[in-house]
């Protein structure tokens, strides 16, 4: 009790000191040559002193009380402040600022031991906690309610479209064209900033950030902000299912191929649209707080990006098969396109881990694509079969290889880039194309040896080389192969056509020869005519089964075959064999010759 009584005089003495200090401050403040810093110190002191003086402290208490009432009034309310109009919002924020001011001025007091001041400070802290907790909820509420995102429009992905499908026998290849994914998605070729939250709430979010940061509640703000935004970003990529690496490695190629197309789309979409927008959102709200903005951005985007990169990793772990090349080139192209974006999004130290992962995947994809490109050569060499292709038509391997390289043209720049990286195996895509076609020719020659009849193996070579020439001539491939190659190969298939003529007709023509060869000396024209007919029947039976798919080429060969007609006509003219000994008239023969190579019709519809 005695202690309590003695406190009063001390308190009174304080008041005297405070009054004296006020006077001194005023006198000092009147001095003209004061630095700004000095002035600040003096004005702070003034505030402190006014709190310490009895009347001032009461004023402070009143202010706190008012703010407290405001904060408490919302505690029991079911509605959100930001849903209740701007007046409510600004009143609430004013209250929070009041508390902060009170807290700061009280906290700076040396008279913290003073029971009243202490209690007041505790109360301020308590109300501040209430308000901050509330603001955190309001923040989450606004972020969730005002979230905006345009549902991304997906391209339609066929689960297994007519790609260049490779299987052991190269059979399932037709004249399809490979659709390059990256070209179809040009809609996201540039940065495209979208509003991730309704733009009119940005100032509100910024205000909440400022207030929470000023109250040292920055961690709460960041965790809440990161949490909501991270979920939002996660929702964006629901279009792509999440796969484990094991899933990807076990996936059938056609499924994987369509997943890759989604991935490519997703990659562009996430980086060029969502991450760019996300970074902008972070900057708008947190730009004033230095590295906090980029910290939040990295935290929001990291997991999503890493998940996408992991899918890429899984793809590069698969076996090397030529048919994968197009997808791999697409993947490589999209990543090398996006490198600039990633480098600028994650240029700071915080995102470097993800950035490095991105570069690493790009490097791996490059290596993988290059190895896959070279794999075509080995696949051609190792494509062996024991049975000849019936009819001597165009071999699936020829179709496959030519369509394959034709489809690669659009990637020439990328492939050249990949080939440049390689030191030993130099030379450009052109050179690689020439290597590929010459090993294809080599393989075709081997395959032609499988035929028992020479004539058929010539037809086979003629058909296939003609096909190669046509593919080159009628596409951009001609720019790579050049006129010289085309001329040379025109010559080649024509040579095979000539060889075919000779192989087919030379023995038959010998029956019709006016000068009898030594073997046929004994025979009469009648017999020779009969033998010719028998031999022709044999040729007819065979060659109507053979195929020449190209109508023009078929016509050319048939016309060349008409030389037999001339020989036959003159043979009949010279020998004057009576009609009853003639099996075929000239007209008959001409008609029959036109039936040749019709096998092509049937076989071409075989598919």
């Amino acid at each position: 009790m005695a202690g309590y009584q003695s406190m009063i005089p001390i308190h009174e003495r304080d008041q005297h000191v405070i009054a004296a200090a006020h006077h001194i401050l005023k006198a000092l403040g009147a001095t003209k040559n004061l630095s700004d810093d000095m002035r600040k110190i003096l004005s702070d002191l003034d505030v402190h002193l006014s709190i310490m003086s009895n009347g001032g402290f009461i004023e402070v208490e009143k202010r706190l009380k008012r703010a407290e009432v405001k904060v408490l009034s919302w505690e029991s309310s079911q509605t959100m402040i930001w849903d209740s109009g701007s007046r409510e919002v600004s009143e609430y924020l004013e209250a929070v600022v009041e508390i902060q001011t009170v807290k700061q001025s009280l906290g700076g007091l040396s008279l913290i031991e003073n029971g009243k001041v202490k209690e007041c400070l505790y109360r301020a802290n308590s109300v501040l906690q209430m308000a901050m907790s509330r603001l955190e909820e309001e923040l989450v509420h606004i972020l969730v309610q005002q979230k905006q995102y345009s549902e991304p429009e997906y391209m339609s992905f066929h689960s297994c479209q007519e790609d260049i499908v490779y299987d052991e026998s190269f059979v399932s290849v037709e004249e399809e064209t490979y659709q390059r994914v990256s070209q179809n998605t040009d809609d996201v070729s540039g940065e495209h900033i979208v509003e991730l939250v309704n733009p009119h709430v940005i100032p509100d979010l910024k205000t909440i950030a400022n207030v929470m940061f000023a109250s040292n509640y920055d961690k709460e703000f960041c965790e809440a902000f990161i949490g909501v935004r991270k979920e939002a970003l996660n929702v964006v990529i629901v279009g792509m299912e999440k796969y484990s690496i094991e899933d990807v490695l076990k996936m059938k190629w056609c499924t994987l191929s369509s997943e890759i197309k989604k991935w490519i789309w997703e990659m562009k979409n996430i980086i060029r649209v969502y991450l760019v927008s996300e970074k902008q959102l972070c900057n708008k709200i947190l730009g004033e707080f230095g590295s906090v903005s980029s910290f939040c951005f990295v935290e929001i985007g990291k997991a999503t990006l890493l998940n996408l990169l992991n899918f890429g990793e899984a793809v590069t772990m698969g076996s090397i098969r030529p048919e994968k090349l197009f997808n791999l080139l697409d993947m490589y192209e999209v990543l090398s396109d996006l490198v600039v974006d990633i480098d600028s999004l994650l240029f700071e130290e915080m995102g470097s881990y993800v950035r490095i992962e991105f570069h690493e995947l790009l490097r791996k994809l490059g290596n993988y694509a290059r190895a896959t490109f070279f794999e075509l050569g080995s696949a051609i060499v190792s494509d062996t079969c024991l049975k000849p292709l019936p009819g001597g038509g165009i071999h699936p391997l020829t179709r496959y290889v030519m369509n394959y390289i034709k489809a690669l043209i659009i990637y020439d720049h990328t492939i050249n880039m990949l080939l440049e990286d390689q030191e030993e195996k130099d030379c450009s895509i052109t050179c690689q194309f020439l290597l590929i076609t010459s090993s294809l020719e080599c393989n075709l020659h081997k395959k032609s040896k499988l035929y028992k009849e020479d004539a058929l193996s010539y037809i086979f070579l003629m058909n296939n080389i003609h096909y190669m020439v046509q593919k080159v001539k009628n596409s951009e491939l001609r720019l790579f192969f050049g006129d010289e190659w085309i001329r040379k190969h025109n010559g080649k298939f024509q040579q095979h056509a000539t060889s075919y003529q000779r192989a087919t007709w030379s023995s038959l023509l010998s029956f019709l020869s006016p000068v009898s060869s030594s073997i046929l000396k004994a025979t009469t024209p009648k017999e020779r005519c009969k033998e010719f007919s028998i031999a022709f029947d044999e040729v007819y039976k065979n060659q109507t089964q053979w195929s020449i798919t190209d109508p023009q080429l078929q016509e050319d060969v048939c016309i060349a075959n008409l030389q037999v007609i001339h020989a036959y006509r003159s043979f009949l003219g010279i020998t004057r064999i009576t009609d009853k000994h003639i099996k075929y008239s000239v007209d008959d023969l001409e008609k029959l010759l036109l039936d040749f190579f019709k096998g092509s019709r049937r076989s071409s519809h075989r598919r």
Partner: protein
């Protein structure tokens, strides 16, 4: 054991030099046996180190004087050591398996079966690495929440406001810790919406939406860490008879090391679907090189059994510490009345110091841990590719190996 460092550095060099000699001498078995023995000794030594460091666990936690620089068992730093051990073993193993070796040797029985099995484990391990890396994000979230609590109670003297702030953060922390495995792991972000439970019907809808979508797993929904570990262990069998002296032995050892590492990480770090994580370790006790590993396995297994039922957050030392301190602090906060009793304040200060210390360790160690796991990931990928390349060159593997 002191000899460990002596040959660690030169191991790869020795292998390759010897291998060249061996090649000329047409398969000298003695050299190979010596290599294998050396490998086994290194395994034994490295795990013995890990075991001994985990036995020196400071029993008096408060007395963690500067001298006690030992990393606690299953702490972040301890895990990083384990990852280092793995990386070393892996490098040695690969050198022994493929460096300078005639590829046909590793495509013969029983390796033609054992190596694909090992590669299959490698792929599963990669998915576990990703799941664990993801789990570390949860741990980091917990760290952030704990830091809030520290910030709050750091201010002295603290009153109702600070205590409430800390309590809110700690409650979120506990939710983040225990929310695991529910709804496919929607715990990555747990919001304390609680108080305004009925807020508005509209926002309720969104809240549910938020929770449903909130799993940020790196892998597919049905993926389960426990199942993966089980699959990795299922066909793990110690080589017997003649096989035990050949290359089958290091293949088994390496598989064991990888299974042990993955299992430990899954047990330590929050991870998708750990229910029913097996504690069986199919390694015969008589194998000398495996002694320390088996001992560690038993130790971790016991811990796991103890904690599993409580919806454990994982055995990571730092998380366990946070959990313990958080419990006490929440209890304190629940009964808090202003002004705090002096005694209680001291108690709280001790807990806060512990939490602050743990947060510091997490801040220092979690990101490097994540990066190290990524390094392991890349290493496994690379080795798998290299081994496949060797197998491919023998032409024996035509079908792609998963």
């Amino acid at each position: 054991m002191p000899a460990t460092t002596e040959y660690q550095g030169s191991f790869l060099g020795r292998i390759s030099i010897r291998r060249n000699q061996v090649m000329n001498m047409d398969g000298n078995h003695d050299q190979e046996l010596e290599d294998i023995e050396l490998f086994q000794r290194h395994i034994a030594d490295r795990f013995a180190d890990l075991l001994s460091s985990s036995q020196q666990q400071p029993s008096s936690e408060e007395a963690s004087t500067p001298a006690a620089a030992v990393d606690p068992f299953l702490s972040i730093n301890w895990l990083r050591k384990l990852l280092d051990v793995f990386l070393c073993c892996e490098a040695e193993f690969k050198a022994m398996l493929i460096m300078g070796r005639d590829p046909s040797q590793i495509s013969k029985p029983p390796l033609d079966r054992l190596i694909p099995e090992m590669l299959d484990r490698a792929v599963k391990a990669l998915d576990i690495c990703n799941a664990v890396t993801n789990g570390i994000e949860t741990v980091r979230h917990c760290q952030k929440l704990a830091e809030i609590a520290v910030t709050a109670l750091e201010q002295k003297p603290f009153g109702d406001g600070q205590v409430k702030r800390a309590k809110k953060a700690l409650n979120s922390l506990m939710m983040a810790m225990t929310g695991e495995d529910k709804e496919g792991g929607s715990y990555t972000r747990t919001w304390s919406f609680g108080r305004r439970g009925s807020a508005a019907a509209a926002s309720n809808k969104d809240r549910g939406h938020l929770h449903l979508r909130s799993h940020t797993w790196s892998v597919s929904k049905n993926w389960s860490a426990a199942k993966q570990i089980h699959a990795m262990t299922a066909n793990l069998q110690a080589p017997r008879g003649n096989e035990a002296s050949g290359l089958a032995s290091p293949v088994f050892i390496m598989s064991t090391v990888i299974v042990f590492l993955m299992w430990t990480m899954v047990a330590a770090i929050p991870c998708q679907e750990r229910n029913g994580l097996a504690t069986h370790f199919p390694v015969p006790k008589q194998l000398v090189w495996a002694q320390s590993m088996i001992a560690l396995h038993e130790k971790i297994g016991e811990e796991w059994k103890k904690k599993e039922k409580k919806g454990s957050v994982g055995l990571l030392d730092e998380m366990q510490r946070l959990e313990k301190s958080a419990h006490s602090l929440i209890e304190f906060a629940d009964n808090f009345q202003f002004p705090a009793e002096e005694e209680r304040v001291e108690e709280v200060a001790a807990h806060m110091a512990e939490v602050a210390d743990t947060c510091r360790k997490m801040a220092d160690g979690l990101v490097p841990l994540q990066m190290q796991i990524r390094e392991v990931f890349h290493r496994i990928v690379r080795s798998r590719t290299e081994i496949l390349d060797v197998l491919e060159s023998t032409g024996k593997v035509s079908a792609p190996i998963v």
